[in-house]
Point group: D2
Chain length 278, copies 4
């Protein structure tokens, strides 16, 4: 028997593609906001694709979800109320709820079909959405943040790429709204794309956040299914500096990427990345 | 919204691919005999793929099915009993039953899952399988032909490519068995691949058939989803010569490729094809 | 040793690609008019690509060049002066000069770099350009035809696809100019793309030519490296009908596709093609 | 003008490809040992490919070359004599010679055609090969290391993937030979592939090195053009521990990735990587 050659390709840039073999399309739909697909890939297992770009896969989702969650949640000494903007797959909520002190984790997602598809086809990732500490609100994240002041200890911006609707999540106005939406000692993290392919975006976001928050840090992590494999996260904090965290205080939780000894190392930047945010 | 780049590629040769965009996999299965898939392609509509090779598509199936059916059925003056070896999609049976004089059309297919998938997902092609004049027999075509003597007016060999199980359908011993399985004035046609890429096969089959049948002819047709777009059919006949057909006798039936004026033209071969069968 | 996977893909339609393995790029250039490349392909040998589309390959060029040349040249009883519009690779000129009665064959090509590249890298195709009966004129073919009246026995329009500069070669005004450029019993042929993918073009051109020329015919041929493998040629004639040719009069020349017995068969059209030009 | 779609794909695994657009092949050759190509890619500039796998590109070569060179050279307090096994492109030699205390840097490369091609087509990478402190020896690296005892302060194993000839560079016997080839306080580094796709290799090499050297460390870095983007380096040392380096001692040199503050962070491993070498 010969296997069919069926390949999904993400055009990571106009001149570069990431192409992986699939056995079938598990689910496809045009939601109100985007093109959604759940693919069965041979290399990575089930994969969520939105508008043709890889969002998450069973094989490597732990990298992204742990990096964007535990760095801020271990930087804040007592995160009780956390909000996730975007991230309808539920992976960030799952990581957040590994922190016992968290009382409530809100998922603010505009596209309910992403949540439904994730619940149905990516249970390993969405499993915590039914937790009693989790609450799902289907709404525009930008609007939600603007309308709620002084509400959260931590906000995590788990957005898609800055094209289309997610563009607004990378604007100065949004970061100002996030500042106001946080409590007086709150902090936030946003995924900010690749230092290899998105230098201008990283630079602009860093400086925007820096002009609003007293503490601004950039940290890096490795996600093999994202363009370049090297991903950045920009953290803005009103009070707590991730580099001042007492490592011995960090409680051990069940993770596969993040560990306390790694926490500060994530902020040690290659020279070319330092240059971007100088 | 950006459409996902999902492409199916058939490696027509090790150095040449036919690649088409798909929106989803409608059905995939590993049958007892082969890898089966029904794909939704943008260019050709639904497509049946076996072991990674295109078998038929909604957009162009009429080309192949009409060419392999009407040439032999209009060459034989009175085809009452017709057998199709392979062709589980049902397209050849559908064309055969457009001939009123046909009393019974047998589909001899080894893989019942091809028939079931075609009935479920390619109804435009399989629609005649439920006709009272049609009879489906699930068995090995080589075995069936060997065990039945002097039975059919016309046999149509609608096989997959000569790799794996279908190899036996291109052997001298099979053509001898076909001769015996035909009535004393019977004739048969087999699809015999591309004159651009499969010259040795065409040559060997033509000479094998020529050594067994008094009349042997090669005709060509155009099938855009097959390698090179140019396809060959080898016809072996005990009595009737397709080139001697009285065109005025050919009844008009509902077809999109075949027409009486085309009948003899199909046998006019480009020089390089004549050279293959010399 | 593992061979590098280097593939050239022509997007034959937005949803269909023709992809072949190459070992290297022999020559690449941006001419004044188009992107030009000579590739070494494993399946077809050297290949000329213009603006990303296959023009000709060593393996299958004989198909196209013979079909577009010998049908008109054997239809006209005494072709002395022949013009080729486009076709800078020289293949049509080579075929034309196989006809001893031809006194002069003009190549009217707008892009001299195509001719130079062909001379240097495709000598098998361009070899007749230095023949004493051949004359190369670098100019806009549309302009040339408009400015020369009553000049040629046969005009062959060997154009690229109707996008960009070649668009004008598919216009009513051009066919009128061709009519005037021909002698009083002249005839012309133009390649008119695929009956599978370019039905509107074939229909429009056929009717335009039909409104200008007393005799208009469509014929088909197989070219494996062109979209669908089935290609069309539209012939407009002031006096001579290709279907009235006396086959016994056709002199044998050295060809690999065209032969006298094939001549009329090329005009026998599948039903769906008849429908296009009805 | 439309650009030709010419793409190079590295099958990073059987089910995953890295595909980038090229404008031309600058140089192709079958050397005595491997398939060599220099491609002009749109995303990364010139790229060296051996046996179909990306070795280095102008855009990102600094990542790999700095990571494999400066970590060991700043770990050893006084590296005078350094050997590079493999690495015919010259990039590691270039980085080594940024260290003033280095008196001699040897390139031990089996395939001289890699060096010649790099000198001709990748001058930015090979520029230091003509330095008076550099010496090129064309020979089998395994043999060279076995035949020279107590010779080097630092050995860098800059090999291709462990398939074909490079397999021997990942064997226990080779690491034993490296131990003997080093001076009594020498140390070595080898590139050891991806923690995502090559876990067994990393595990086996780490334990082999650990059984031979008193100090064994694994460090990581980002290389976007290598499979997964995350790459590993295994360091075996007779005396000096990279984690004990006095950062203030590290001299500033002109680099784009490596910097002193990053040195120890490179050794902070994600949990799943720690698990591999446990």
């Amino acid at each position: 028997m010969a296997e069919m050659e069926l390949w999904f390709t993400e055009q990571q840039t106009p001149d570069l593609g990431f192409t992986c073999k699939i056995t079938k399309t598990i689910y496809t739909a045009k939601t109100q906001y985007q093109d959604l697909a759940i693919l069965e890939t041979k290399q990575f297992g089930r994969m969520l694709v939105l508008d043709g770009a890889v969002q998450t896969t069973i094989a490597d989702e732990f990298c992204y979800h742990e990096l964007i969650s535990h760095v801020p949640l271990f930087t804040h000494p007592n995160p009780k109320k956390v909000a996730v903007i975007g991230g309808g797959d539920g992976g960030v909520i799952r990581e957040i709820l590994k922190h016992d002190e968290v009382e409530k984790a809100y998922l603010i997602e505009i596209d309910k079909e992403v949540i439904e598809a994730s619940k149905k086809y990516l249970p390993e990732i969405s499993c915590a959405l039914d937790d009693k500490r989790a609450e799902v609100i289907i709404t525009d994240g930008i609007k939600f943040v603007s309308e709620n002041k002084n509400m959260f200890d931590v906000i995590i911006v788990d957005s898609t790429d800055p094209v289309g609707p997610a563009v607004g999540l990378f604007q100065d106005s949004f970061y100002k709204a996030v500042f106001e939406c946080l409590k007086e000692d709150g902090l936030f993290v946003a995924q900010t794309e690749s230092p290899f392919y998105d230098q201008d975006l990283i630079k602009n976001v860093f400086h925007a956040v820096k002009s609003i928050f007293p503490i601004t840090r950039l940290y890096l992590g490795f996600i093999p299914t994202y363009p370049s494999g090297l991903w950045s996260f920009t953290l803005g904090s009103k009070k707590y500096d991730p580099l001042e965290v007492d490592i011995s205080r960090i409680k051990r939780i069940d993770t596969r990427y993040y560990n306390p000894e790694l926490h500060k190392a994530l902020f040690a930047l290659p020279t070319f990345v330092q240059e971007i945010i100088k």
